[in-house]
């Protein structure tokens, strides 16, 4: 045995830690992208709903982000950035692309939410002396949010899973970490099973939190 080289070793406890660290990477990437994407998306959705003149420009633009596969957007953006003389880490590039993608999805959902609050309710709010902004903030947005909340949660869970595509840029998140471990251990099913469990652990609290909110709002 002395002249054999060991290429493959089994799955060890330390590998679990490695995956947990990678899961933390996935969480950071997703949370940041969802936060930025939601803030941006609500702004864009407001423009779509309230400033109709922006539609001819915004709608095709958002459609590009929504319809070009994310993996292509990631590779293109990551390779385009150095061409204009900027350096971005895989994490930063992934955040930018995922945020834009999330914003494009959220924009249409936010638009639908705002439009779901009809003119009579807005007029009732305005008749009380509320300004446009006050009626938006205290009546239209909270009511619209309740309507489209499940759709938004769907986006959150989707972006969380889609963040795995950032692995193509070399960022070590959950999927990338699993691939590294699979190469070493040759135990694809087991490692993917563990990675899948980690994804579930990340998503499940979101679903649980969402369900609780919806229940509370139903009364």
């Amino acid at each position: 045995m002395s002249n054999t080289v060991t290429y493959f070793t089994g799955f060890r406890g330390a590998d679990l830690l490695f995956l947990a660290e990678a899961a933390w990477g996935t969480l950071k990437l997703s949370a940041l992208s969802i936060a930025v994407g939601t803030a941006l998306g609500v702004g864009l959705g407001w423009m779509l709903a309230e400033l109709r003149a922006t539609r001819p420009i915004l709608v095709p633009l958002l459609d590009v982000f929504r319809s070009v596969p994310l993996i292509i957007q990631l590779v293109l953006f990551f390779n385009f950035v150095p061409m204009i003389g900027l350096g971005l880490s895989p994490f930063a590039a992934g955040c930018v692309v995922l945020s834009a993608y999330a914003a494009a999805l959220v924009a249409q959902v936010a638009r639908a939410g705002i439009e779901s609050v009809g003119r009579p309710l807005r007029r009732a709010a305005r008749s009380l002396g509320m300004s446009y902004g006050q009626a938006m903030r205290h009546v239209v947005l909270p009511m619209g949010l309740r309507t489209v909340f499940p759709a938004w949660v769907g986006i959150v869970l989707g972006v969380m899973k889609d963040s795995s595509l950032v692995s193509v840029l070399g960022y070590v998140e959950l999927l990338r970490a699993s691939q590294i471990l699979i190469t070493r251990t040759q135990e694809a099913l087991f490692v993917l099973g563990v990675a899948g469990a980690f994804y579930f652990l990340l998503s499940w609290p979101v679903s649980w939190w969402a369900a609780r909110h919806e229940k509370r709002w139903q009364q």
């Binding site: 009579p120 309710l121 007029r123 009732a124 709010a125 305005r126 008749s127 009380l128 002396g129 509320m130 300004s131 006050q134 205290h138 009546v139 909270p142 009511m143 309740r146 709002w217 009364q219």
Partner: protein
């Protein structure tokens, strides 16, 4: 005092109001009757500036509602409005529905706003529903909630846009009773209504709208007792 001078309102080619002249004094209750589409509701929307006008003037306590520099948000605090669809805010409790505008528009601290809200809700008989959500209320209760919400801004005038038209018949009474109570308290009210009994009994004056004009206006006994215009006679024959 609300003064309306030569008011015209067009929606595209359709002229809904065709020259309205009307003055409503403080403390007066004016009912506006007439067929659907005669411009009654539009007039209310023009009074608080929710609809722009095409021609003429509307003055509320001397303030020109449609003048360029008018602060409509400020003006609307003096003009409470109750709609046909009660429009409660479904995401807020009954108490929050009423306390919201006093808090964010009048700038009252939360505790004070809720005190005002509680008082108004008790006034309209909803003192036991404070923590409920509007969905748990009947139509009549939601409409009384809408009245309390408007009153919480302590308006000088109340505009009622067919406040009972969307209600089941057995719920109309409680809302009309609330409106009667306000009238008895001396609130200045303009009520667009299909409730002829209410118009006759509560109003100081009744205006009959026909195709965007005031066809006849006068004291309720005259309007219902001996109407002059043939159009009013025909209208009354149909609805009474």
């Amino acid at each position: 005092m609300i003064q309306i001078e030569n008011l015209h309102k067009k929606f595209g080619a359709l002229e809904v109001l065709r020259g309205i002249d009307l003055a409503v004094n403080k403390g007066e209750v004016l009912s506006i009757i007439g067929a659907s589409g005669s411009g009654k509701s539009t007039l209310l929307y023009c009074i608080n500036g929710l609809e722009p006008i095409s021609e003429g003037r509307v003055l509320v306590d001397g303030v020109d509602v449609h003048a360029r520099g008018t602060d409509l948000n400020r003006l609307r605090q003096r003009l409470g409005m109750v709609f046909q669809q009660w429009n409660s805010f479904p995401h807020l409790t009954v108490l929050e529905n009423v306390a919201l505008a006093p808090r964010i528009v009048r700038g009252l601290p939360r505790a004070k706003a809720e005190e005002v809200a509680r008082r108004q809700l008790e006034h309209v008989g909803l003192g036991d529903k404070l923590a409920q959500y509007p969905a748990a209320l009947s139509g009549g209760q939601q409409q009384r909630l809408a009245i309390a919400r408007a009153l919480a801004m302590e308006p000088e005038y109340m505009l009622f846009d067919e406040a009972t038209s969307a209600l089941d018949p057995e719920l109309v009474g409680e809302v009309l009773d609330t409106m009667r109570m306000l009238a008895a308290e001396g609130m200045t009210m303009i009520c667009v209504t299909h409730e002829m009994g209410f118009a006759r009994e509560v109003s100081d004056r009744v205006a009959f709208f026909h195709q965007g004009r005031i066809e006849e206006i006068g004291r309720p006994e005259e309007m219902f007792g001996k109407p002059r215009s043939p159009k009013l006679k025909r209208f009354l024959a149909k609805v009474l």
